[in-house]
Symmetry: C2
Subunit: 369 residues, 2 copies
């Protein structure tokens, strides 16, 4: 047992073989940033792969040395937590296309010795999973559980479809088999804001003094509106002014102050090109079109499934989770489904750790090593 | 009777007195662009004032010479239509702060002989109504009906509160007494996109070669997402590609093509500064806070009311219309309320002319001159 009171650290794995992408291109020298918590057993069958959402990273749990904040899902990963490091070997990696250590548009292109920028090929959820497969093979995993929220749920779904020999259990939280037109529209607005930023320069800004921060901040603001539900916004901010009406176009209402802050802190931790590439991967993911139906997509899966959604999530709705559940039932799979009550909207999967822990712990009892 | 088969034209009225604004400033030489349809009777009591939404103008009905498209609410205004020009004298004017002929940020500031830009004071819905009052007085109107959708509904509400001697009937469609935090957030994103456009230049761009088109287009895209409901987007576009997946960041899905088109055509007909000023006026409108309650706000009104909303409108929801209805009932006013079924979301008030016509015609029977 590894105690997460110890510091956690991000490690890096360099994949030796080229990655053959969905777009037809090859990607060389791919590096994966990852963290592990707990210990892999001799059979290599007590692993849990945690898949992250749009803007997270490999640092899912514990504290990095010197940090005041733990990893992004620390409330769910650790001794006796939902994903119990006393029992499981937990892996979390940064996705392909990201900007937190795994190869992405800000990485050095081995062919030019400059950052890829938009020479980086468009990647997909399937490509992200390919890279993760290389990592879990390298780590010696034979059988595993895969879990993720939002885009992480898409990766978990893809794992269950693509790797039935490896995945015995799949947990898909606050996710969908494919985006609605409205969700694509929100992503498109964010991308447009980035691309039209005066510092974007066709995605080639890494050696410039200025980066497309305004555009990225606006993309993040749009995102945050969709992560909170209207009621949550009403409760948090209502129509309160930050101070009093300014009669100008600066930050005026509390909700504006919140969005401005979220935009501002985001640009310090995220790369605008990664935002473009990852949102595009999310938009493209569509096993329903790819396989003809979701039932067919799941037909070869040998996993059992837990689907969790939140009643106030209007980005990835309960009916979208039910679509997954119905397909799994039609495909004759073992599936459990829970809609949790929460006022937190889509963000609930990052916040509501108590209810999720209860559900996940009892669901995972069957898998206990 | 004036037949709208004749061409309609926009006229201009110059207000002689200064307009004293809510922000405390004075606005000189205010001009109002307006159109009228039908004939005012001798008593001056057969008028209907039509109030427009965020981006419309005075040209509500009929055709301008050479135009292929009629005014924005032509389906509702004309002989035997909902607002019947055989019976009523119908007035439609561009709002203060607009860019279609009424004084706004793109107008010439008489003190500098240059366009106002951000020297234009921040205006409110109350200020818009003040300017409209000058116009209807000039036109000889003594008693009138006021009607509008979306922001037009806010103006209609303000008329009923502020001018009980003039307003006998108020029709508020797809509107709200005040914006939700979420709706303010969407407006804030749009304003941020405009303000961070490289050509914005602090709002002083009228004599420059380039205007903040990218920012304004993004603001419009965000707006359009809120004007359609998710189901309407799904039905219209689904996940269809314009052609096939591009594997780049250009227009890819049909819904992206729609938004891009809406953004592109909008910048040719609207001024970015007007977008800032008018969305701010919408955000600020809040008779509930101003009067202590909506019931108190309506207490002096001598109007009867028709409130119409649409079940798929998620920008200004049915529950927001019911809040108005409940306040009117509590204030002892005569109120009729209809929630119409429509797949068109907030845009329904511009589209669903048949159902609205039926309701409005029967409601107005009492007012017939």
């Amino acid at each position: 047992m590894k105690d997460l009171a110890e510091f956690t650290e991000t490690k890096y794995y360099k994949i030796e073989s080229d990655i053959s992408l969905e777009c037809g291109k090859l990607l060389k020298d791919v590096q994966v940033a990852y963290e592990t918590y707990g210990t892999l057993n001799k059979n290599g069958d007590n692993a849990i792969l945690i898949c992250h959402a749009l803007t997270a990273d490999a640092h899912a749990a514990g504290y990095h040395k010197g940090d005041k904040k733990p990893g992004w899902w620390d409330s769910m990963i650790g001794p006796n937590k939902a994903f119990d490091t006393n029992k499981y070997f937990i892996i979390s990696s940064n996705v392909l296309g990201g900007c937190k250590g795994t190869t992405g548009p800000c990485s050095i292109n081995p062919e030019t010795q400059k950052s890829y920028g938009h020479d980086f090929p468009v990647i997909t959820i399937e490509d992200m999973v390919k890279v993760q497969k290389k990592l879990v093979d390298f780590l010696g995993v034979k059988k595993m559980i895969v879990a993720g929220g939002s885009m992480g749920g898409m990766q978990a779904m893809e794992w269950s479809i693509k790797h039935p020999d490896t995945v015995k259990t799949t947990i898909i939280i606050a996710s969908t088999a494919r985006l609605s037109a409205q969700a694509i529209a929100f992503n498109a607005v964010g991308r447009n804001a980035i691309i039209s930023d005066k510092n974007f320069n066709g995605g080639d800004y890494y050696d410039k003094n200025n980066t497309p921060d305004y555009g990225l901040a606006i993309a993040r603001m749009v995102g945050h509106i969709t992560y909170l539900c209207e009621n949550a916004m009403h409760t948090k901010f209502g129509r309160d002014f930050k101070d009093k009406p300014n009669f100008d176009f600066g930050v005026d209402f509390q909700v504006e102050s919140y969005l401005e802050y979220q935009g501002r802190i985001f640009v310090d931790r995220f790369d605008a090109n990664s935002y473009l590439y990852i949102t595009k991967a999310i938009d493209y993911y569509d096993p329903i079109s790819k396989f003809g139906s979701l039932e067919k997509a799941f037909s070869k899966s040998s996993s059992r499934f837990l689907i969790i959604c939140f009643d106030s999530d209007w980005l990835f709705t309960t009916s979208q989770s039910k679509e997954i559940v119905n397909a799994l039932i039609a495909a004759g799979k073992d599936v459990s489904f829970v809609e949790l009550k929460s006022p937190c909207g889509h963000d609930a999967f990052l916040i509501e750790h108590k209810t999720q822990t209860k559900i996940i712990k009892s669901f995972l009892r069957k898998d206990e090593p």
